[in-house]
Amino acid sequence: MRRRPRAALSIGMVLLLIGSMSGIVLAATESTTTGSFTASNVDPTVDSIELWTTGGGASSTTTMTPQVQYNVKVAVTDNNTLDDLTTVKVYIYYDADGTYNTGDRPGAGNTQTCAILTWTNPATWEIDPNASTTWAVVSGSCSAPSLSGSTGTFQFHFKPGKVATETPGADEWHIYAVADDGTATGDNYLENLEMNWYGEITSVTATSSFGTVALGASAVISGTISATYIANGAYDEQVKSSATWTGQTTSTELTLYTSGTSPGAAQFALLADDDGTVAGGVQVLSASYVAIDDTGTQTGESGNTVSNNHLWLWLGSSGIPAEEYRGTIYFKIADGS
């Protein structure tokens, strides 16, 4: 830039200058040009991933339980502003050997092993798998940061599916997050998370009858009792009975005999099994469950329906009025690990 030495102006000269300016032509002394540049793309970065519980007292956690709501917090930086992002994806996936390895990342959702949560700019929250699954993205609780900023935390609220694989041994769940601005991506992960056992029994047959039983009768078989077991790991099928059964006319109470198949006066005994043969049947107790099967394994979301459960009845030979008796049979799924 060139500079001209300037002489100091006297007040008189200034006044003269001002006075002479009245006729100055201002038109065309100014012109414009449109300047432009293209800001280059800067790769986004995923600065951190955290798994948090939700609700009051929310805190960081390393263990999940299916059907419980959690919050994956993904801190992302994009110097082109977060609005530059097209998606942020969170992969929550099961790793059988428990050692994080990029090659282990699934490419698609799976009810047992992987869920992919996706935020799509500006405000769409999705999950894969998204049909016939109990995995859930709680979009109403999800939140994205201000997109005009360059750094912020995306919060993915979700519930693990019912059959998200339990991690009883060295196996683990990991969380992998990737931010994509359409041109480049940035990622990060959180490894070694645990998934608790989850079991559920549904669709148990409402009633089952032994018919008319003679006093002193033995091993009278019941009708079929169906039950569906859903579990994310090994499980046991268990059963128990109410301690008394009640006469529907006189209210006479019969007592469950739990020491074998020789009930006394006003007593009865039960065996139970997950098939139609009394062989292998277990003595039904009232104080606690007994397993009729301890070989259950992880099921699908639709579960494992056992439709051939049966009971066998032994009735005391006296002290039992001739009328209908009712009691309650309890079926249970239990962690089989």
């Binding site: 830039m1 060139r2 001209r4 006729g23 300047g35 432009s36 280059s40 800067v42 082109n80 502003t81």
Partner: protein
Amino acid sequence: MKVNVILWFVNMAPSWGLLGGVGRAAWVVLAIIALLAAVGVIPSSPEPVLAITTDYTFASGGGTNKWAYEEDWTDWQEWAEGRPTSPDDFGTRLPATSGDYANLATSDNNRWQTQLTLLGWEWNSQLFLFNINEDRSAVTQIYVQWEGHGSNGWSYYTRLQIYNYTTGSWVTIRNEDDVDSDVTWTYTITSNCANYIEAGTGEVAILLMAECSALLWDVDCQTDYIRLQITAQYSPTVNSVSLWDTTPAEVTTMTPQVEYNVKVNITDNDTLNDLSTVKVTLYYDSDGNYSAGEVPTSGNTQTCAILTWTNGSGWSIDPSAGTTWVLVSGSCVAPTLTDTTGTFEFHFKPGKVATETTGSARWHIYAKATDSTARTGDNYRAGLNMNWYGEITGVSASVNFGTVALGSTDVISGTVSATYISNGAYDEQVKSSATWVGQTSGAVLTLNTSGSPGAGEIALKADDDSTLEGAAQVLSASYVTMDDTGTQTSESGDTVPNHLWLALGSSGIPAEEYQGTIYYRIADGS
């Protein structure tokens, strides 16, 4: 061109006493020879020539400004002494009477007779004096018409003369013998007319001399009618020169490209239609002191414009091509040309680079009127100012920095060409819009004016060359100067390859194209 053939007669005194009878024949021969030798060709005045012609006669009597006198002369006085030697040498100057003046008034054969002597070879004479009103320097033609007669008889001469005040001698108009009946003699003078008019008084003297015949028959001189016709051609005068704006108000300061009106008030007693041109020369004078010798003779976009009104052709300006000097001919006004005084109004716009006046420098206006006979008059208006003028044109429509990484500094732009036109010192200035806008997302980046852009900010430097050194930090609230050494340009201006340098914040800037406005300005550098 017309030519007039005029026969000039030699003033030959035809009187020599008793030898006159023999000598006259020889003189006649000599007169013929002289006549042939004296044939000349005189160019006429250029056409058209507007002039004022005034007749001086005795129609309104004598006295006041015209007089007639009579006298007689002996042969000796006339021949030997050459009397009268001048209008003042007219003896006792016997004045004509009112009756004589009445006889002289018209051509009606009522004559003023002078018969103061009857002696042969003596002379009766009449002297006619006219004090004309015209400026002797303006007179272009003197026409004399005389009707009357003198003496009869062969070799007795009647002579009509007009006095040349410059040479102090009489010039013969006609000299013939035997003029014993009425004749009409006319004579026209078209050159050196002032010589025949007495300075100060405007007197024109015409002398009639008639020699008496020795036969004593018809010895007198008689004038029926005499007319002196004076034709004057006046020089124009430029009475005033003034500069006006179109408000209208008289002004002393001009601004380029603004319309002004130079009013030139002119008088030409031959009527303004006698003018051939009126030229107005507006010119720059670096020392500001008007001097006639400094008036330019041709136009110059920076220092001079010559506005010309040409009778019959209209208005023109020099410089006239490739210039922003403008003659607003539609607004120019010429006065009524049949008047003798009027104001010519030259409407014009000073050119863009008409030199600014700083210090003692001034513009002057010189006006010159030229008539059909190349007579001129002039005047001037000195000490005018010219305001600063600046214009910026040809600024590149757009400039691009290309793709710039976030956090970059001093990324140079393409060239921003700008042409600066100014009539004086000027500064080249620049500023930016306060924000630049993303063309996809509408993201807004803010101009950082400290040079260290933060998140979502840019900063710019600018200079009039391609080197960062000396570049100015670009602001948005006001202009900053890139160069303050600009000097007066030509009409085509000074084209400069400006550049910008971009610094980009390291965050808060979406990846997309941004656009902002860069303002370039020319400012008075005085």
